[in-house]
């Protein structure tokens, strides 16, 4: 490798080709590192679980227990369907699908009657989800309600039966 170049052969091309090689090696290194990063970064982010924890198939956090006053109801999304959690006047929690069994309007809680009411055609359900009056042909689907977390800041967890 330490042969003298033939006379007349300029030294610069040799140096230039060496620089080209260095440049190419550097380019390759940059390329490898950036593609490795482009793979490693998404994978690293992927491994960290998202806030929602798990697929919301059967169980959803409806909200904070303290936020739901007695004789009031709260609508929340259960997957892509509306659901409602109700706290009765005596403090008992219950949760139902908020999809009216008549024509799928969203029901709401009526505090003066302590019933679930559908504004579309006046369907009424009691706090067990049973139809009281109006056009709905079936009762509301009932969900299980549990509290989870530190006392005072509990979450209301609503789940569909397994």
């Amino acid at each position: 490798m330490s042969e003298l170049p033939p006379a007349g052969f300029p030294a610069t091309p040799a140096a230039g080709s060496f620089d080209r090689r260095r440049f190419l090696d550097a380019l390759l290194a940059v390329g490898f590192v950036s593609t490795a990063a482009a793979i490693a970064y998404p994978v690293a982010r992927y491994l960290v679980p998202p806030d929602s924890g798990e697929a919301a198939t059967n169980s959803v956090v409806a909200g904070k227990a303290a936020a739901l006053k007695p004789n009031s109801g709260m609508i929340f999304p259960f997957g892509s369907k509306p659901a409602i959690v109700v706290r009765a006047a005596d403090g008992q929690l219950s949760a139902f699908s908020a999809v009216c069994t008549h024509l799928e309007c969203t029901v709401q809680f009526k505090p003066d009657a302590s019933q679930l009411w559908c504004a579309c055609h006046n369907g009424l359900y009691d706090l067990a989800g049973n139809v009281v009056s109006g056009p709905p042909p079936r009762n509301l689907e009932r969900f299980a309600v549990n509290l989870r977390g530190e006392p005072g800041t509990e979450d209301i967890v609503v789940s569909r039966g397994a």
């Binding site: 998404p42 982010r45 992927y46 998202p50 798990e54 919301a56 198939t57 997957g79």
Partner: protein
């Protein structure tokens, strides 16, 4: 730095033999050398599948009530979950494509001839395993298309004579496609098939390392007596080319994931009617279309049964091709088998296209 590590290992494990092997390993250089890259490509895509598959495993739930939602969760909520899932789905297709290309190139070039019969057999088995991976993995998102494609596909297994009914129950985990099928397919896809494939890939690679790359008959013939095929060093020349091919595959995957993302589909409803025009994935289309075209009764036998038997016989034949093709084993040209290979390619391409354009 790397040298330090190697020295440390050498002191303990005596890497002399390995170092010699690596420095001496060469790859033949000739006009057909481009086909050599297909094997490495298949291996690379298989590695991508294992990697992305393990990542998906961290969030996927193999039960009929949760599978679809877990895939939806991965794709919508998990950061870059959509990317991992898309890569896995697209790489599966590319892997099977590469595996078939690799198979056909070996078939056409007669690389299966003596002394490489075992490599061929292990490779054929791996091809069938890849199809098994594709079929079992396709069900896992539990959407409408995959549910019915599985129903149709496992139903065809019923046409196998004698053991047909037993096979269906074995595949489906029952008489119908249910959550039991999903559990079973999941077990096949992440445990059974990977275990067998790993062993076979290890053997396949071992054979290739031991025997080196096969040189096509046509090239061998042009050699003067005593002349050897020019070689390029495996390190770094061939490996750089291999890596280049892998990066091209990576680019293809990125492009496909970006411009043609995989859909979620509708959650499977076992009690819904079969949607019209249901078909399996493209790599089964030729077989599927052939079975559709066979008349329902041929010479008193059930058409579909005959078709399934025929495909089975073809598969067995293919596995034992090196032993049937005596001519290439003797180093002579084997035009019949070349014709067979070409026919095979044409049949697959034409029937796949026909199946796609059929109503």
């Amino acid at each position: 730095m790397v040298q330090h590590v190697l020295n440390w290992l050498d002191e303990r494990l005596d890497l002399g033999g390995l170092k010699h092997f690596v420095s001496e390993k060469g790859v033949p250089v000739h006009a057909q050398e481009v086909w050599y890259y297909l094997g490495g490509l298949t291996l690379f895509l298989f590695a991508v599948q294992i990697f992305t598959g393990i990542l998906l495993l961290l969030y996927y739930r193999p039960s009929a009530t949760e599978a679809y939602e877990s895939v939806q969760f991965i794709v919508t909520r998990v950061p870059f979950g959509w990317l991992i899932r898309n890569i896995h789905s697209w790489s599966a297709n590319l892997l099977i494509g590469a595996a078939f290309a690799h198979f056909f190139s070996v078939f056409l070039l007669k690389s299966y001839r003596k002394p490489r019969e075992l490599t061929w057999i292990s490779g054929m088995l791996l091809l069938f395993l890849m199809l098994g991976f594709g079929f079992s993995g396709y069900l896992l998102p539990w959407n409408e298309l995959s549910f019915f494609a599985t129903k149709v596909g496992t139903g065809i297994a019923g046409s196998v004579p004698v053991i047909g009914h037993f096979l269906i129950r074995l595949l489906r985990g029952g008489d119908d496609v249910t959550g039991a099928t999903l559990s079973r397919f999941f077990g096949f896809h992440v445990a059974v098939l990977p275990a067998i494939s790993t062993a076979l890939v290890a053997l396949h690679l071992l054979f290739v390392q031991r025997q080196g790359m096969s040189v096509p008959l046509g090239v061998e013939k042009t050699l003067k007596p005593g002349e050897k095929v020019p070689q390029m060093p495996f390190f770094p020349n061939y490996i750089l080319r291999d890596v280049l091919v892998w990066y091209v595959a990576l680019a293809a995957l990125a492009a496909l994931a970006a411009f043609s993302p995989w859909e979620l589909g509708k959650k499977a409803d076992p009690f819904a009617a079969v949607p019209p025009g249901i078909r399996p994935e493209w790599y089964f289309l030729a077989m599927f279309h052939t079975l559709k075209l066979i008349p329902s009764h041929v010479l008193g036998f059930e058409g579909e049964r005959l078709g399934v038997i025929a495909f089975g016989l073809v598969a067995v034949f293919l596995v034992f091709v090196p032993f049937v093709d005596r001519r290439s084993s003797d180093g002579r040209g084997s035009p019949w088998f070349t014709a067979l290979a070409v026919t095979g390619v044409l049949y697959l391409v034409i029937f796949t296209i026909l199946a796609q354009i059929a109503p």
